[in-house]
């Protein structure tokens, strides 16, 4: 049996990046449409920012029936307090049954603060969401214990039901430029004195390819043997125009910076191809990359758990194999590029 009937509709909190809607938000919007269809209700997009009204049309093209808009200079940059206040105002007035967020740093900062304010349940980092026909409840599936187990969770009586959704798991919906929707604008009501944080600076990470967005990730682990061998990983990544990743062990050992760490306590990536070079495949590492489309494992130990999740691989010395792979790819890709037509 589901909760109070006056809660309806499936909402998505929309994140923006450099004046555009974040891909992760569009993925969640696509999912929200499916869920709304399952409940016979509407899809709402919550757009908080400064001068963001123009993005409403794109949200409707991607499936939003209603855009709940708040435009305020205090929402120009994400901070917990004004965003929680704004989202809370909208939820209290319009009573959505489900509210979804991306499991980004913003989503995972905002969602628990909002859930606590609403005294409702929140499920983190969901990889699956569905409506159970018998009960109408949102069934939330998520990894725990570093991905060693999957849990199915429900929030039976409190409303709204809330989830943060892991990026790059749900497909991005196609845009239909003929779709239109309603825009409902509200004014943010919060005293300036109630906003107790300020952003005072930002230093972008200087990286040739961002690991979270990359289609190809080449990752190195302890099997490389020594820090100077990590350059073999960089060389393959460069030829493939991919990003460089690393296991926790080599990050802790100082071979490469923490921004490259893939795993439960590092970044989660879902590239088209993930090369695990000299990485044994401990559960904590798998948690960060096991949903990659293709996983290539190179390890001298045939029993290494990485081979349980790999698509293909070679058992052997990673320091011997990597330079040969780099050379082979370089030759083949150059040949492909120089072909006429």
């Amino acid at each position: 049996m589901s909760g109070p009937p006056e809660y309806r509709d499936v909402w998505v909190f929309i994140e923006t990046e450099a004046g555009a809607i974040a891909d992760a938000s569009l993925e969640v919007l696509g999912k929200a449409r499916d869920l709304a269809a399952g409940r016979g209700s509407r899809t709402g997009a919550v757009l908080l920012g400064e001068q963001v009204r123009a993005l409403s049309a794109t949200l409707c093209h991607h499936g939003a029936d209603v855009v709940y808009l708040m435009d305020d200079p205090r929402l120009a940059e994400y901070r917990t307090e004004p965003f929680v206040a704004g989202a809370h105002q909208l939820v209290e007035k319009y009573r959505p049954e489900i509210v979804l967020f991306s499991a980004t740093t913003t989503g995972r900062d905002l969602a628990p603060a909002l859930a606590a304010k609403l005294h409702t349940g929140l499920t983190a980092d969901c990889t699956g969401l569905s409506i159970e026909p018998e009960t109408g409840l949102l069934v939330q599936t998520r990894p725990a214990f570093g991905g060693n187990i999957m849990a199915e969770i429900v929030c039976a009586t409190r409303r709204p039901q809330m989830s943060t959704v892991r990026p790059k798991v749900m497909p991005k919906p196609l845009a239909d430029p003929s779709r239109t929707g309603e825009i409902i604008e509200e004014q943010l009501r919060i005293d300036d004195a109630a906003i107790r944080t300020q952003v005072v600076g930002f230093e972008p990470e200087v990286e040739t390819v961002n690991i979270a967005d990359a289609d190809i990730v080449v990752s190195g682990g302890r099997g490389l043997g020594a820090p100077e061998n990590f350059k073999l990983v960089h060389e393959l990544a460069e030829v493939l125009k991919g990003a460089v990743g690393a296991s926790r062990a080599v990050v802790d050992a100082g071979w490469i910076g923490v921004h490259h760490q893939v795993g439960q306590t590092g970044r989660t990536v879902r590239p088209k191809v993930y090369f695990a070079c000299g990485i044994s495949g401990a559960i904590q590492h798998l948690a960060g990359m096991r949903t990659s489309d293709v996983i290539v494992a190179i390890n001298r130990d045939p029993e290494a758990p990485i081979f349980d999740v790999a698509t293909c691989g070679i058992v052997g010395d990673v320091c011997e194999i990597l330079p040969l792979m780099t050379a082979e790819f370089r030759t083949r890709l150059e040949r492909q590029l120089s072909r006429p037509g």
């Binding site: 900062d109 606590a116 349940g121 725990a144 107790r196 944080t197 961002n210 439960q264 191809v273 904590q284």
Partner: protein, 264 residues
Amino acid sequence: MEIIVAIKQVPDTLEAEIDPETHTLIRAGLPTAINSFDEIGLELALQLRERHGGQVTVLSMGPKSAVRALQTALAMGADRGILLNDRRLAGSDTWATALALAAAARKLAPFDLLVFGKQASDGDTAQVGPEVAQLCDVPQVTYVVNVRSVDLAERRIEVDRILERGRQRVRASLPALLTVTKGEVFPHFPTLAEVLEARKKDIAVWGLDELGLDRDAVGLPGSPTRVRHIFSPTRNANVELFEGAVTETVPKLVDRLLGGGAIL
């Protein structure tokens, strides 16, 4: 500075069992450790105490055996420990846990800083810290990698956060709640002297009565979310292994990958 550090004793393995009826973790009998992000929080708190003076209190909610985690924290240098222990707290989800921890924080008030680890290695939710901030009505700053400065006179703290695209500096008013992540602060190993010193320090145990909480507000009854079902993730069926001399296996693997179209 009065700093409260929340720590969780977690299984020191990711292979624990699930109780088939309550769908909660069976923690009894497993090797345990302080959650790694919480250790970072504790180390950060100790560094702040070095610079600004004051007291570091460690707070944990768990079974009686969680006293071990508090003892380790005292050995690392915390001044006193509080264990929230009550049968009726068992099975709490993040809301119910936050409710209990916030009640303890209120009892320990006034404080300058509440420090949490980013997430626990068993639940992986990263929710309890922010929920406690909300319940205590203090500003939260998450993904903190280090504290840059504290101005106790102006009641201000400046911290650095690690976000997807880079490093952000945030100023917050005190009291505040931080959730910390790895990268710049590294927990130290207690010396023998610190371990012996820790035996003289106090660990208090508080239950629902001390916290002033109703049994229905916490535990399984007080949890808005419930785990209905646990299962193992699906594993890849068959890995295609290339065997033989590297001069043969490497070109075959490269063929396979280029043929698949994933690498254009």
